[in-house]
Symmetry: C2
Subunit: 176 residues, 2 copies
C-alpha cells in the first residue's frame, strides 16, 4: 500500500471527522492531529477550511447531477426504480461525504457556493416519489433519503449487504 499524498490524507481525515462531528464541530486542529501534520500544512494545501468542505462535496454533487440528468424524460415508474438504485449507489460510493451533506444542510444552504445542492436533491426527490407530488409522498421520500444517508455511515452495519438492504427498505417504503 503506497502512502497517499498529504493532500489526499487531509481529505480522507476531514471526511471522517466532518461526517461524525459535523463541519463546525470539527476544527483544523482535529484534522491536523488525525493526519499527523500542522494546521499550517492544511492551509498550504487548501486556502480555507471551507475549501476542504467544497473539495469533499464536489464529486458526489457531480455524480448526483449526472444521476438526475439520466432520469429526465423516462416514464415515472422507471425513473423511480432507477432513482432508488442510483441514490443507494451514490450514498455507498460517498458515505462520509453524503452523511456530511445531510448533517450540515442548513449551513451548506446558507453558503452561496453550495446553493445548487438543494435543487439537485429536490429533483432526485421528485423522481423517488414516482411522479407523485402529493405532500405525503414527498414526506416519505425525505424520510428515506435522510435515513439512508445517515445509516450508511453507521459502523454498526459493517457486515450487512448494505446495497440490497437499503434498496429493499426504500422500495417497500416508496413503491405502493
Amino acid at each position: 500500500m503506497v502512502r497517499a499524498s498529504t493532500r489526499e490524507d487531509i481529505l480522507s481525515a476531514a471526511a471522517g471527522l466532518f461526517a461524525t462531528g459535523g463541519y463546525k464541530g470539527t476544527s483544523l486542529q482535529d484534522i491536523a492531529a488525525a493526519v499527523g501534520c500542522s494546521k499550517a500544512t492544511l492551509l498550504y494545501h487548501f486556502a480555507t477550511k471551507e475549501m476542504i468542505l467544497a473539495t469533499l462535496v464536489a464529486p458526489p454533487v457531480r455524480d448526483l447531477a449526472t444521476l438526475s440528468e439520466s432520469l429526465t424524460g423516462q416514464p415515472a415508474a422507471v425513473a423511480q426504480g432507477q432513482a432508488i438504485e442510483g441514490f443507494v449507489d451514490l450514498v455507498l460510493n460517498y458515505r462520509r461525504e453524503i452523511a456530511l451533506i445531510f448533517h450540515d444542510l442548513p449551513h451548506l444552504f446558507q453558503s452561496e457556493s453550495f446553493s445548487d445542492i438543494k435543487e439537485l436533491i429536490d429533483q432526485l426527490a421528485s423522481a423517488l416519489a414516482g411522479g407523485s407530488a402529493e405532500p405525503s409522498a414527498m414526506l416519505g421520500v425525505n424520510v428515506i433519503m435522510a435515513g439512508i444517508a445517515l445509516v450508511a455511515v453507521d459502523p454498526e452495519h459493517e457486515g450487512v449487504d448494505l446495497r440490497a438492504a437499503l434498496v429493499d427498505v426504500a422500495r417497500r417504503a416508496l413503491i405502493p
Copy 2:
C-alpha cells in the same frame, strides 16, 4: 398570550437553534441574541451550555423510557405496532429535541450524562424490528428512525397530516 419566563424563552430558542445548527454549531451568543438577553443571563439560569442541552433532552428521554417500558412483555407484532405509533408521537411531541438528539448523537454518546440514551434507542429499535434481530431488519429500523426524526423538523412539511404520513411510511417499510 402571556409572555413566558426568561428560562422558558432560553430553552425554546436553544431548541430551535440546536435542532438546525447542532450543539457545537450554536454559540451562547447565538442563543442570547435569539432570546434578546446577554450571555451572562443564560449562565445565570443554567450553570453551563451543556446543562441547557441536558434540560432540553430530559423530557423526551423520560417519555422514551416510558414507551420502552410499556412495550416489554407484549407479543412482538403488537409491540411493533405500538412502537411505531409511540415513536411517531414522541417525535411529534418533541420535534426539535429529537432532531437535536439524532443530529448530535456522536457528541451525546461520548458524554457521560447521556449514555443511557443509546440503550433506550436500541430497545425501541428492537421493538420496531418486530422481534427480528436480522441485520437487514435492524438496518431498516435505523433508516426509518433517523429519517422520521430529521423530517419532523423540516418546515417544508407544514401543511401535511404528519402523524398519519409518518406512521404510514414506517408501517410500509417495517411490516412485511
